[in-house]
Amino acid sequence: MTRQMTGAKMIVQALIDQGVDTIFGYPGGAVLPIYDEIFQQNQIKHVLARHEQAAVHAAEGYARSTGKPGVALVTSGPGATNAVTGLTDALLDSIPIIVLSGQVPTFMIGSDAFQEADTVGITRACTKHNRLVKETDKLSAALHEAFHIATSGRPGPVLVDIPKDVQFATGDYTQKTAVKSHYQPQLKGDMTAITELVEALETAKRPVFYTGGGVINSGPAASQLLRELVEATGFPITSTLMGLGCYPASGEKWLGMLGMHGLYEANMAMHGCDLMINIGARFDDRITGVVEKFSPNSKKAHIDIDPSSINKVIRVDIPIMGDVGHVLEDLLKVWKSRGRKTNSEAVAKWWKQIDEWRAVDCLKFTQKGKIIKPQYALQRLQALTKDHDRYITTEVGQHQMWAAQYLDFEDPNRWMTSGGLGTMGYGFPASIGVQMAHPESLVINVAGEASWLMNMQELGTAMQYKLPVKQFILNNERLGMVRQWQELLHGERYSSSWSESLPDFVKLAEAFGAKGIICSDPDDLDDAIMEMLNYDGPVLFDCLVEKHENCFPMIPSGKAHNEMIMGEVDTSTAIDAKGKVLV
C-alpha cells in the first residue's frame, strides 16, 4: 500500500519510521518545508544548534552514546559546507549519522543560484555515501536506504541532498520494509581463519588483545563477548582511544590505552608480544609509531568488518573479515569446544614481565605548590564522578590525552572523542547530543580553552534546552599540544600557540545565563568540582592549570613503541630529522 504525501512530510515520516526521536539542525531557505512539517508534529524533537558544524557533532555524540544513528538537518549552500567537518569526523571515527541537506530547486541546479553549492560533489569524499534525490517518489526509499547504509557494515555518515521543489511536491511514500538494498556486508567471519586464530591463542606465549572502536560499533554484546574472552584466556588487553570502555578500566587484565600517548605497559606489551589480536582497530599511525619497527616479532591477527583496513598499514598473518560480535562469538565457541586451552605457564611469565612495566608507573606526577596540574584536575574529577551515571566528551589536544589516561571507563558508549580527524570544537556540541539522549545522566566535556572557544556559541543551545552539560576546561592559556610540539621540534619558538585575549569564562557563562566557576587553587578544586556537579544547569568550569605541562608518556614521531619518552627528561634529541616531517 502506498501513501501520497509531500516530500517534506515524507522526510518526517521516514524519520519516525526509523525510530528517530531527536534531530539537530539549523533552518534556512532550502529546508523551510521540512521545518514546517517538524513544527506540525511532536514525535520528533528538533534541537536548534547555533552552527551547522555543531549540529553534526551533536548528532555524532547522540549516535556514539546510544548506538543509534544520529540525524542532522541543514540548509543548502553554507549550511551544507558547514556540515563538512562533522561529516569528515564521523567518517574517520565510523559514526553512523544521517545528514539531510536542503538544495535549491531542481530547475535551478547548476545556475549558481542563491545558497547553491554542489553539496554531493563537496561531500563525496567525506561521506560513506551520499546522493541527490531529484524525484519525490524516490525520496522515502532513499532515506530508508541512507539509514541502512549508515548503520550497516562499518558505520559512517550518509548525506541526502533534497531540492526544495522535491520537498513541496507530492509523491508515493515507500515503507521502510519495502526497501531492499544491495549493500549487505558480510557479518560472519571465515571459520578456517577463526580456527587458525584459536590455534594461535592456544600456543601463544606473549599474547595481547589490541582493541578499538569497532568493538563499540559492533554493539554492547560485542563488548560482553570480549570481556568473556579476556577473562577466560587471561590475556592482557589494551585499547585505542576510540575503544575505551569496551573492556572495563577496573578489570585486572587492562593495560590502559596504547599509542602515541598510551601507557608504557601497553606499548611495551605491543612491542614485545608474540601474538597480537587486533579486534576492530585499524593500525592507525597514532598507534603504530614508525611502521618498520612496529611489533617486530609477533604473529598478527586482525578482525575487521572493512576489508580495506586489513593489510592497509600493517601486514597481518590471520585476517578475519567480519563483524566483531559475530566473530568473537564463533571464536569463543571454537576455543571452548577445543578444550579452552592456553599456554598458561608462558602467559604467567608474560604477566610477570608486564607487571614490571606497570611498576614504572608511567602516569605518576607530583601535585605540589599552588598551581593545579592538569593531571591532578582530572584525577580529582575521576574520583568525584566515578560513581555517577557518567558520559565524557572531549575536545582535541593535551586535555584529551590526559582524559584518556586519567579517567576510567567501565562501559562502552560512555566516551565520545574525535579520534581520527582530531576536530577541535567537537566536544561541546557532542556533549549536547549526549545529554539530549541521556537527560538524567551526568555529561562532562573535558576541554581545553582553545578548543572550547571553537564552538562556544553552543552555550545558547545548552541554555535553550536546559541541558546541564558540564564544560570542564583545563585552561593553560596555550594551544597545549601545539606548544608541546614546538618545544620538542621547533626550538621552543612558540609561534601563535598562545591563546591571547581570552575571555573571562565566568562572565561569558553568565552572559548566556549559565553558571561560571573559576578555580586556580588545588585546595579549592574538590569543592569547586562538587559545586559544578550539584548545579542543575550548564556550567562553564574554568580550571586554571599549569601552563607548560607536557603530555607524557609519548612515542616521539618516527620512533617505535619501546622508544617512549617518559617525562621531563632531555627531549631535545627525542625526534630526528626524519621524524620531524610526521604529524
Binding site: 555515501h129 576489508p307 593489510n311 601486514r315 573479515m321
Partner: protein, 186 residues
C-alpha cells in the same frame, strides 16, 4: 567473485585474497567494476583514486545492462601487490560499486582497445603508412589527398607498436579508448 565484494546472502568467503604478498615489485592489473549507473558514480571512483594517490593507466566506462542500471568500468592500474589489494578493497567500499573483479588474477582475460590515428603526408611516406596499416589490419575510416585516419583494434601493446611505426610517417593525432576487458571462457 572477489572475496572483497561479497554477494548478497553469501554464507562464507575465502580470506585467501587478504593474505599478504610481500613483493615490492609494481604490477599492472586490469580491474572490472560493475557499478550502479547513476549520476556521479564515475566521480566516486576516480575521486577515490585521486584522493588516495592510486595510478590510472586507462579507464573506460559504459552502460552494459540497461534494465539493471549497471555500468562497467574497466580500469588499468599499477602498484605493488599490497597497493593493488588496497585499491580493490577501497573501490569495493564504494556503495555504488556492486562488484570488483581483478581480471589479472582471476584467470586469463582478453583485453582490447580501439584507437584512431591521423597520419598526414604525401609520396612514399603515405604509401608506407597505408601498407603498414594493412599489416596491422587497421581500417581507413577517413581519407584526403594528404591524410588518412586509421582505425585499429587490439591489445594495448599492438596499438603502441602501430603508434611507434606511424610516428616517423607523419603521425598528427591519436585518440585511444582505453582498455575494455573480459575474462576468457564461461
Amino acid at each position: 567473485m572477489s572475496a572483497l565484494k561479497i554477494k548478497k546472502g553469501a554464507q562464507s568467503h575465502s580470506a585467501y585474497n587478504l593474505r599478504p604478498n610481500f613483493s615490492d615489485v609494481e604490477e599492472r592489473h586490469t580491474l572490472a567494476l560493475l557499478v550502479e549507473n547513476e549520476p556521479g558514480v564515475l566521480a566516486r571512483v576516480i575521486g577515490l583514486y585521486a584522493g588516495r594517490g592510486y595510478n590510472i593507466d586507462s579507464l573506460t566506462v559504459a552502460e552494459v545492462d540497461h534494465t539493471g542500471h549497471l555500468s562497467r568500468i574497466t580500469i588499468v592500474t599499477r602498484g605493488t601487490p599490497q597497493v593493488i589489494e588496497q585499491i580493490k578493497a577501497q573501490t569495493g567500499r564504494i556503495i555504488s560499486v556492486r562488484e570488483v573483479h581483478d581480471l589479472t588474477v582471476e584467470g586469463p582475460c582478453v583485453e582490447r582497445e580501439l584507437a584512431m590515428f591521423k597520419v598526414t603526408g604525401t609520396g612514399d611516406k603515405r604509401v608506407e603508412a597505408l601498407r603498414l596499416a594493412d599489416i596491422f589490419r587497421a581500417n581507413v575510416v577517413d581519407s584526403t589527398l594528404t591524410s588518412f585516419v586509421f582505425e585499429i583494434t587490439g591489445a594495448p601493446e599492438k596499438i603502441d607498436a602501430f603508434a611507434d611505426l606511424m610516428r616517423p610517417l607523419g603521425l598528427a593525432d591519436v585518440a585511444r579508448t582505453g582498455v575494455a576487458a573480459l575474462s576468457r571462457g564461461e
